[in-house]
Amino acid sequence: MAIVKPKVDAVIVGMGWTGAIMAKELTDAGLRVVALERGPDRDTQPDFAYPRVADELEGSIHRKFLQSLAKETVTVRHSIKDTAVPYRQMGSFKPGTGVGGAGTHWSGCHFRALREDLNLRSNMKQRYGAKFIPEGMTIADFPVTYDDLEPHFDHFEYVCGTSGKAGVLNGVKIPGGNPFEASRSREFPLPPNRNYLGAELFYKAAREMGYSAYPIPASNASAAYVNPYGCQMGPCNFCGFCSDYGCLNYSKASPNDSILPVLRLRKEFELRTHAQVLKVNLDSTLNRATGVTYLDADGKETEQPADLVLLCAFSLFNVHLMLLSGIGKPYDPVADTGTVGRNYSYQNLNRVTLFFDESVQANGFIGIGGGGATFDDLNGNQLDNAKAGFVGGGVIWARQPGAGPIRGITTAPGVPNWGSAWKQGVKDAFRHSFYYEVQGACMSYRDHYLDLDPTYRDAFGRPLLRMTFDWNDNEIRASQFLVGKALDMCKVLNPKALSGDAKKTGEHYNITRYQSTHTCGGAVMGSDPKTSALNRYLQSWDVPNVFAPGANAFPQNNGYNPTGMVGALTYWAATAIREQYIKSPGALIHT
């Protein structure tokens, strides 16, 4: 018999960015909130304290801040006719665990969406006609506009102390920023970070190619800062332990340093760690959630009744919980029915590395996760998709989150993997190379989706989530086009050697190589309950007291990193809950 806890107003599953934002907003509104986090509690002190956190073996090999795949993972297959096999070792993407979630070990790139990213389908139709969108590509407009989200993009940047330079401020172009961005209502809270060598040279190469480079908006503070909640941040000292690590310096914004210091003091907020949520409980109508069932730290099955259930797990596991709990109808790609699992997409990441001689001090060990430079000349409406031959754009950037020898040293083409020639190769490359990356959009397709695996189970006896995904021709063409542009740009800098990895025609998705943690979709927001799991407020169409904020809501992924958009959507949903739902619980959009 499960332990039953006293009922609360809202239960939150997961204490990453979305969970922390929801907890802050809902306790602001006077709700009593319990948050259930599957992993341990984490705070800058002692968990990210120097020097211990800067241990590459623990951070990047033992994966101390990532979820243990022994407990929960996914299975993956390339097509609907294949048998999926488990994602057994961490590779392609890195879900976090513990308080802070992936918001602890992220890098800090903090973009807004472009205006046209939010109405991709109608924009493509308008620019090139409906036939330009290939058969089977299921891209859709977001059911929100840039103007809906602008105040929330803005607020999240101020919470994070995002460092950058506005390109368009209240409709006026400002030198130094992104001239193609949608208008901002305020300048960034902090000025851009300083440039390491690779970023400095990026500006030079971009200028020669005629691109308008600008500083990547980085939630890595360029100066001391106090956010609107009173949380303090210190200037980033370029320590080189960003991606994979918690920030030792209160510089990289995270739920841990930017929101939780306030939440932890609130008596309306209770955080339970090592609390593994197994499912959302529904009443007999299946249209109302009564709370969640979880295993407590001791492994005892526990029920937490609540009026409101916020699914704030990592995008994949939000979808998993919805499928396991019977929230909405599972997607069936053959019949083209159902919504949960539909429109899974990813990110099209490709890297080119530039090698120089020893007079060039690239110093890859100097690192800042979100800093660097990029441009939007090949993204959004700047790109002529018909000419380029694919849907969706992308960015090319210089980023240097910090290199260390355990994380791997990329050697120049022709260097073997071992022996004296390898030693010479790593010695030559380590301080004298840097890389640029192409981050391309990834479209959604009828046969790319998430469902429950028929064979494999997690440590709690539940079916694993199954991912059916592969590179489509559209994404391969995008990769080849954008990497080609990146290589042209690199040649301006005259490196001694150059290596690049555009996807080859027919290339299949490889789960063993880290590419990106930007797994998107599966429980998407939309205006039609037949093709979306969530309405425009990230509320389940089927079970209106369940909200599922996260990248799971993206109908497809654009060329930017998702966190800025995820934060803005969460504030947007929280505002709808505070201003509409609490007064009158129920569906916010009537069908």
Binding site: P51, H78, R88, G419
Partner: protein, 238 residues
């Protein structure tokens, strides 16, 4: 690192007595390259007693590591840097017994894009692979183990494991090689607290400053190399 998987006293005794022959053999082999050894010998592995590997496995690890990262005028060899000690200690951590890997079956064959789909954790991949290679050597080289082969034969064998040309019983030679290479590189480059990278010699070789953790004064310096030597997690300066 966890100690609970240490061998029983009797096993310890057993391989102390066995260890003489193969280690001496490996030592002899290493002598061929002593001449151009660039760093001091204080980092040599003679005084470390393995707690995970048995004598035959230890001889293999020492010999293979030094093929992968040989001594030369660029920097120390893997064993000079303590990589074998690292590997022996690393095999005793939860990581090496599959703590963060999904280890449930069924174990079915899949395309290489899906990674290792077998049922062995790292420590058993190494053990089964070493046994397989030594068995192959015994057949091909009249009873000799890998550690007893000429350098050239060792190198050829590792190359054929790397490409997957070598066929071993119970394990993919390619998978074994890839884990062995990863472990060797980790032992070479890890923080010295984990047993490898003695005296931060591998960091000095590539110019990695270790855990200095503050480069704010150096972000925009272009005209001179970063000047400071490495510092490790214990605060020692190299």
């Amino acid at each position: 690192m966890s100690d609970d998987k240490a061998p029983s006293p009797s096993r310890r005794q057993l391989f102390k007595s066995l260890s003489l022959v193969p280690i001496a053999a490996a030592g002899l082999a290493a002598c061929a390259r002593e001449a151009d050894k660039p760093t001091d010998l204080s980092a040599s592995q003679g005084d470390y007693t393995p707690a995970f590997f048995n004598a035959a496995e230890w001889a293999f690890i020492r010999a293979a590591c030094d093929q992968l990262i040989p001594a030369d005028n660029i920097g120390p060899s893997a064993s000079q840097a303590g990589a074998p000690e690292f590997i022996d200690r690393h095999m005793q951590t939860p990581y090496a017994s599959g703590d963060i890997w999904y280890m449930q079956g069924p174990f079915i064959e899949a395309a290489p894009q899906f990674g290792y789909q077998g049922r062995l954790p790292v420590r058993d991949i190494l053990r089964v692979g070493i046994k397989g290679i030594d068995a192959h050597c015994a057949k091909q080289f009249s009873g000799k183990s890998f550690a007893q082969l000429e350098h050239k034969d060792q190198e050829e064998l590792l190359k054929s494991a790397e490409t997957g040309k070598l066929e071993l019983e119970n394990i993919s030679a390619k998978e074994f090689f890839s884990q062995l290479l990863n472990e060797t590189r980790m032992g070479y480059f890890c923080d010295p607290k984990h047993g490898g990278n003695k005296n931060m010699a591998a960091w000095k070789m590539i110019g990695y400053p270790g855990m200095r953790a503050d480069y704010s004064a150096w972000v925009e310096v272009r005209d001179q190399p970063y000047p400071l030597p490495p510092v490790d997690l214990a605060g020692k300066r190299g």
